[in-house]
Amino acid sequence: MNLSGKSKIPKILQTDQAQLLTDWISEQIAAGIRKDLIKEIELREECREFLDLFSAAVQQGNFIDIKSAEWRSVREMLGSISRSRSQKGFTPSETAIFIFSLKQPLFSRLRLELAQDGESLLEEIWAVTTLIDKLGLWTTESYQKAREEVILRQQEELMELSTPVVKLWDGILALPIIGTLDSARTQVMMESLLQKIVETGSEVAIIDITGVPTVDTLTAQHLLKTVTAARLMGADCILSGIRPQIAQTIVYLGVDLADVITKASLSDAFALALKRTGAAISRPQTRT
């Protein structure tokens, strides 16, 4: 459908822009825009800017393909609005309302213009609806993307945070693992542990899995790999914090931990590590 020749929409957008803007904003306020998150003056500015760009794009006559060049600035603006709204804490529908609420003012304008011609009115409304739906979907998509970026960044940060290597004593490192061990995390964990072994010249590393909820064959394999790699470099690993259920699972799965030193608790592992490095802790004699 190509209405470019006879469509009234470009003309409406040009001549009645001020009226449209007022109607549109009151529409959004009626829809319950979050006044606590955005100021009305800010909203007005955004709307005005959008209408300018929208009007300019519509003048080109392309109502169908919003991916084309003439819609680029509109897309960019919608993208940045969605991003900023997702950061401000708007819900997806609250963000989409921004564009969908433009329908009502446009339709009423069209009805005034084409009151006599029912056929054209229907066509025009259909064209505008399709167009605005597309723009609305684009908004939601941008919103979603912005959210996903946040999640991805947080995931990376979490990964860094969740594998700390701490030095317990001269020559003794500890790696408390919290959460499920997957391949990506094991890789980070292994690298940071081995790097720290080189840096500190530690001979013993305690891998504490108290915070690991489940151990399957894959996890066990990852742990074994880490232990082997540390051994290749000349450091011994002690596996500690194995809970009763996990001990049972390991045996049922048939995982062979015979080559790995295991201890039930971190304190037992630490005691062994101290003995290995030739250090000892003793209580000071209390005076009587």
């Binding site: 690298e191 072994i197 080189v198 010249g201 001979e203 790699a229 000349g234």
Partner: protein, 131 residues
């Protein structure tokens, strides 16, 4: 052809690999080392690979073989200074180099060799005393 130098320190041989190992060099090292152990009746071999950035499966296997050969010639092998990336690669390749003893650096590797050497000397003396 270039060769990797083998230094003698008392009862032990010290090999420091400073260049990237290619296959022929590794084979040459294997020949030289077994030869030297035989000639000097060394009791221990210390291989320092801290300068090695890349280890492929072939080099990994050669290292394992050297350790086994030394064992046969009654010398213990200690590999020291393996880089984290190398360790990860070897593990991913499925080479755990069982039978090789490892240490973090030359100093610790030497201490390890001395300790096991002294232990074996003590054992043999004890054995003689009993006879």
């Amino acid at each position: 052809m270039e060769r990797i130098p083998i230094l003698q320190m008392g009862e032990f041989l010290l090999v420091t690999i400073q260049v990237d190992m290619h296959d022929r060099l590794a084979m040459a090292l294997q020949d030289d080392l077994t030869d030297r152990i035989n000639r000097t009746s060394a009791r221990g071999v210390l291989i320092d690979i801290s300068a090695l950035e890349i280890v492929d499966s072939f080099i990994g296997r050669i290292l394992g073989n050297i350790a086994k050969m030394s064992r046969v010639l009654d010398a213990e092998t200690v590999v020291v200074g393996m880089q984290p990336a190398v360790a990860i690669t070897l593990v991913e390749l499925g080479l755990s180099l069982t039978g090789i003893r490892t240490a973090l650096n030359v100093e610790k590797g030497m201490a390890l060799l001395h300790k096991s050497f002294e232990a074996s000397v003590r054992d043999s003396i004890d054995g003689h005393a009993e006879v």
